[in-house]
């Protein structure tokens, strides 16, 4: 019987320290929730040793400049001391992200969990909606 090895389905946020990190694909388009997802994911990767790839997307809902997003991603990585592969995805963000995750054998896609209105209602973004409905890879929305 193995001891100290997690054998059940791995939970994203409660992983045993001796389990090898997962291969994570974080999609970021510059919205506030995607920035929070970046910070949360990099924080976790520092503890778990996740193999992190950050995909910078063109989110039609924001006018964020991809180069500025990349600078932001790099500064978060540097600050927390995590290395990650940074990629730029052109074209339709949701389908490009799903295709990359499936083609390159990622364990999980990570995305922002939606914007919150002044009322407190959560509104899911269009990229998250597409990815949730179409991805064969597990998806985590960061709240």
């Amino acid at each position: 019987m193995s001891v100290g090895r997690q054998t059940g389905p791995a939970s994203f946020f409660t992983r045993a320290a001796d389990v090898d990190g997962m291969k994570l694909l974080l999609g970021i388009g510059g919205s506030d929730d995607s920035i929070r997802a970046l910070e949360g994911t990099v924080d976790r990767a520092a503890e778990t040793g996740d193999d992190l790839t950050v995909a910078i997307l063109r989110n039609p809902a924001t006018d964020a400049d991809p180069e500025e997003i990349e600078a932001r991603v790099q500064s978060v990585l540097d600050e927390i001391g995590v290395t990650a592969t940074i990629r730029h995805l052109e074209g339709d963000p949701g389908s490009q992200l799903v295709e990359l995750a499936e083609r390159d054998g990622f364990d999980r896609i990570v995305l922002g969990g939606g914007e919150t209105s002044p009322m407190g209602k959560i509104k899911l973004g269009g990229i998250a909606e597409f990815v949730l409905l179409n991805s064969h890879v597990s998806v985590t929305l960061v709240r």
Binding site: E115, T116, S117, P118, M119, G120, K121
Partner: protein
């Protein structure tokens, strides 16, 4: 998330201003009046504390006393419009207009909650019409809301009052109304 939202060209209404009293379909006398923090805050917290989780919508109302208190602070704060539906001393429902953060009191988001025991008796329509009357009087020009697209009873209620669909492409069905 407040840009590019389409509103009907013509104003709806007029709507009644609070207080309004009407008998609901169960024969109960229901008064909708302005929310008074000193008088109503405790009862409103209690209402949300007992709220059925199945009736939550897009994350609200939140759960837990502290989160409910924080949420009520923000949706009853400066610039908001709030009414409560009362049955005697009991609060049966609550409706609120929260102004868009990047705007003054010109555009506001609407939410309405009716306690389970009071649902299906016409109180929602009574509450929302009186809230819109209070909003109109406070100078609110446009009101928007989102509703889960499978929630047909809620969508019908909003349509009956004068809301029109403005975005049906997303997970959430967005509806708008013009008051002025």
């Amino acid at each position: 998330m407040t840009t590019d939202r389409g509103y009907p060209d013509d104003p709806a209404g007029p709507f009644p201003t609070p207080p309004t009293t009407a008998e609901d379909r169960e024969g109960r006398s229901i008064t909708v009046r302005r929310y008074d923090p000193d008088r109503d805050r405790e009862a409103l917290e209690a209402m949300y504390d007992t709220f059925d989780p199945a009736d939550r919508a897009q994350g609200i109302p939140p759960t837990g006393e502290d989160r409910i208190a924080d949420w009520l602070d923000s949706i009853t704060g400066d610039g908001t419009v709030n009414v409560v539906a009362c049955h005697g001393d009991d609060i049966a429902g609550h409706a609120t207009l929260v102004p868009d953060s990047d705007d003054t009191m010109v555009a506001a988001e609407l939410a309405i909650f009716v306690l389970q025991a009071y649902q299906g008796a016409g109180i929602g329509t009574h509450l929302i019409e009186t809230l819109l009357g209070a909003g109109e009087a406070a100078g609110v020009e446009r009101v928007w809301l989102t509703v889960e697209r499978w929630n047909e009873p809620a969508i019908s209620l909003y349509e009956k009052v004068g809301f029109r669909a403005s975005d049906t492409e997303s997970f959430e069905h967005e509806m708008t109304i013009r008051l002025h």
